[in-house]
């Protein structure tokens, strides 16, 4: 064929994702992305189109690898309620390089971009719905395990979990204190799940 690419596409997406995650779409310049990825402009445009298509690809990358990885690691473990708790808490404690206040690329991008770009809005809506589905799965598992009351409406509780998680992620940007955010997480989870458990199990 011809000359092959001189870089690892996944590593470039990961590095670029961190910049968009930290700075947002508008504040991030192509120069910032060149520095973060080590690519020259010609390579960036040749391989990723333009700033918008690069961002769209990064949203997919973040969804599949970073968020998806956390869903696998924390949400889908043996104890479904413990999984929910760990998923929530690690949103604030597992930030890259220990940076506080970066919250979540999905929530950040909803806030900044959803009303200005329909393709981005639809993509982000799908991610939020996927997250709700995962919460429902965990709640139903907890019902079967008997760690949560069987008569609760999983969909309603899952909705409240997602809304609260989004709200907590917003709050983390003004609070910027991991200890306080973990406590806020635990208070929300206790409020939503705690007093509805089937065996009085309080975490």
């Amino acid at each position: 064929m011809a000359r092959p690419l001189n870089f690892d596409r996944t590593r470039v997406l990961k590095n670029a994702a961190m910049i968009f995650w930290h700075q947002g779409y508008q504040k991030t310049s192509m120069k910032d992305l060149e520095s973060a990825t080590g690519l020259l402009p010609s390579s960036l445009y040749n391989s990723f189109g333009n700033k918008e298509t690069l961002f769209l690809e990064i949203l997919d990358f973040y969804t599949d690898h970073i968020l998806g990885g956390r869903i696998e690691k924390y949400l889908r473990q043996e104890d479904p309620l413990k999984g929910l708790q760990q998923f929530f808490i690690t949103c604030f404690t597992d930030l890259p390089r220990g940076r506080k206040g970066m919250a979540c690329l999905i929530v950040n991008s909803i806030s900044e971009m959803a009303i200005h770009n329909e393709a981005i809005r639809k993509k982000l809506l799908r991610v939020e719905n996927t997250l709700t589905s995962n919460f429902i799965t965990n709640l139903d598992k907890a019902k079967q395990a008997g760690t949560i009351a069987k008569n609760i409406d999983s969909e309603i509780i899952a909705n409240q979990l997602l809304i609260s998680l989004n709200g907590l992620l917003v709050a983390s940007k003004v609070i910027k204190d991991n200890v306080k955010m973990v406590a806020a997480c635990e208070q929300s989870l206790q409020f939503i799940l705690g007093n509805r458990s089937g065996n009085g199990n309080e975490h």
Copy 2:
């Protein structure tokens, strides 16, 4: 003295606030603000300093007049629980010019600016704390009126109300449907307040 200003400062702040509210800080150019306010650059800079100081003043204006007005109008009415419900719902139905997905300038600005500008972060944190205080006041009033159980912890409920409101405002940017958002509001309020009321009053 000397030549007086040729414009109404409040009207300029209001018009500029709408632009920042709709577009965010980074996406808004000084040209956008000139068009929206009808002022020339020299007047804008002479009266408001620069883009950042104008934005800081607009955050105060929004807090005092727009958000503050809604607190007075909806939150501080006879029935404190009805006030909470109306305050929540009108966040999505009372948007200027019927635009959907604009959410709230405070939440938008937290998401975009809090980790990049410490003065903005502190200002926004204060606004959020003020809102929580107002929620606590309403909950305590509801206790006295007997419309909510006296043994609840007003601070915890108020925290959950604020977190959920922030989360709902984020959600409104991908959902962009007033009917769905009002239903989501009612579900959250029912979840947080409904089954803790003292007389079984369901709204």
